[in-house]
Symmetry: C2
Subunit: 333 residues, 2 copies
């Protein structure tokens, strides 16, 4: 990363941190309407923070984990990383003339959604490998970084990083002010998120857990390099989430925040430990301000989680009723 770019990054980060701090110094969780969800959050945080109280948790054990897609930012009309993959295929196409006649590349280049869907998980994996492996980690970071700073959401025309959920940013901030350590635990690629997680969420790369491609260390022409290999080291989704948490964090969180059945096991693992526990599901039920989807959705399907939330004691957040404002770009002062 060049120095000028780095300085801009730091300046932007400082601005965001200051802005967030200033806007909410007076009232935490200001984009949350008064209601059961907000009350449950505040009650939990106060209980575990009260020294001498029955539910006190030492700050070193206040670990909170957040899913990313659909929990911290929008996953509609498709995962942001999938949009990145499609854009990369198009950008790389001139160097691969054979893609014009080969599926699933042909489908991407022709915006043929039906053919792309027909290529299934195998097709997607091929696109993932083509765009995510075969380069150094530094090269991938640079590519992902440039893309996220310029690519725009197909519906709103906003930067994707503006389409993070303002109430969740406030929640991250509120937890950190109460000495929680906040982690992302996402099915998305860890290296896709790490370049911007600190700026956008205040979460440093070392607190981002995600799906991982294999890497290999080697000295290439005298230059130490981490090469991205065409193999998967961890699929950090569903039953893989507690595993990713264990590998990276090494202890059970006390609070987990998700939105889909991909987060079910993370919520289950987190909330079944002893002592005070907190689980929350964001339910996307606001077609006007964002999108309304759950049991039938291709992205972020929420079915079993909706059925079991009440029995498990998980709080279901209604975007429509619980959030006074949704996207950062639309809420910022």
């Amino acid at each position: 990363m060049n120095t000028a770019f780095k300085k801009r990054r730091l300046a932007l980060a400082a601005t965001l941190v200051l802005a967030t701090g200033a806007a909410h110094a007076a009232e935490p969780l200001s984009s949350w309407n008064d209601g059961l969800a907000k009350k449950a959050i505040v009650d939990f945080v106060e209980r575990v923070s009260q020294e001498g109280g029955a539910d006190y948790v030492h700050p070193s054990e206040r670990i909170a984990v957040f899913d990313n897609d659909g929990t911290l930012w929008s996953e509609q009309p498709m995962y942001v990383q999938l949009a990145f993959i499609l854009d990369r295929i198009k950008a790389m196409a001139p160097g691969h003339p054979e893609w014009k006649d080969t599926q699933p590349y042909k489908a991407v280049l022709e915006n043929d959604v039906a053919a792309l869907a027909a290529s299934g998980e195998k097709g997607l994996m091929e696109l993932l490998v083509a765009t995510h492996a075969g380069m150094s980690t530094a090269e991938f970071e640079s590519t992902a970084n440039q893309w996220i700073r310029t690519a725009r959401h197909p519906k709103t025309g906003e930067l994707y990083t503006g389409m993070v959920f303002q109430p969740m940013l406030e929640l991250l901030q509120y937890l950190r002010e109460n000495r929680f350590k906040t982690f992302i635990v996402s099915g998305g690629g860890v290296e896709f998120m790490r370049p911007w997680s600190y700026e956008v969420y205040g979460i440093p790369p070392e607190q981002v857990v995600g799906s991982q491609i294999k890497v290999k260390y080697e000295v290439r022409d005298g230059v130490p390099t981490l090469a991205r290999e065409p193999g998967i080291n961890l699929v950090d989704d569903k039953a893989g989430k507690p595993v990713g948490i264990h590998y990276h964090i090494g202890r059970r969180p006390i609070a987990a925040f998700g939105n889909s059945d991909g987060d079910y096991q993370m919520l289950e693992w987190t909330t079944s430990g002893p002592g005070p526990r907190f689980g929350m599901i964001v339910h996307h039920d606001d077609a006007g301000r964002e999108a309304a989807y759950d049991r039938e959705s291709h992205f972020g399907k929420l079915d079993k989680g909706l059925d079991d939330a009440a029995g498990k004691g998980w709080i279901v957040v209604s975007v429509k009723d619980d959030w006074s404002c949704v996207f950062r770009y639309a809420c910022a002062p």
Copy 2:
């Protein structure tokens, strides 16, 4: 973990933190003799901490990584985790009568070092799987925790956690006071270290990177469980160290501390990045106070690192000359 035990842990942690803080509030690195090594450390930390200076590094990027065996605590006459494995085989033997006549178990039960050595890496791996897999992560943590709190070093009779290097504890503290984030990056098993890393080193579990056994999430009789499987997910040694750093931390450290050729690639990866970088090797040359070993040692062999240190700009610390006191148990006031 039961509550009484947890409270004792926290009390002990608080005592250690307070003791370390009080002892060194006046003078950091007080067990380091004045010399090139101490001067190099202080110079580096001051350079990266000076805002506006040419070598300033933002605190969020002040990542320092430490090998464990031979760098933070003694690895002689054998790795502590190997002593744990041998003790576990003996403790588990009553449930495995067949071990009396089966290698490599027989060798362990009869303290037959030659036969154990003859079983080679394959034999060791068998012992590792027998003692480290086939139970839940919670069961393993409890076993490791009980062992480390009672087992004693064969030569000094001290608890292993008393045989950590006092100058390195002061170095960890000094770096953290200067807003470094300190990580362990060890060839040892990550779950062997995490139960006590915070108490002993002030390093929380989520900042410990190490070799990793595969785990699997499942709900057993209604209880969410992480089961340890007989397979290795990561060997965090040699070229595996930069890989482990990348998976867990997600960015290149600016300072690395090791003592053996197992740390060579970690030092190389860390110090070949742009901007200010720091690499240090602890050279065990003090037979009187600890042990003298390097090129020929079975544990912690240091050969290539000694040859290349000067050319790479890595500081070689002499235990004999640079440390006024070695083990915590012998230095503590």
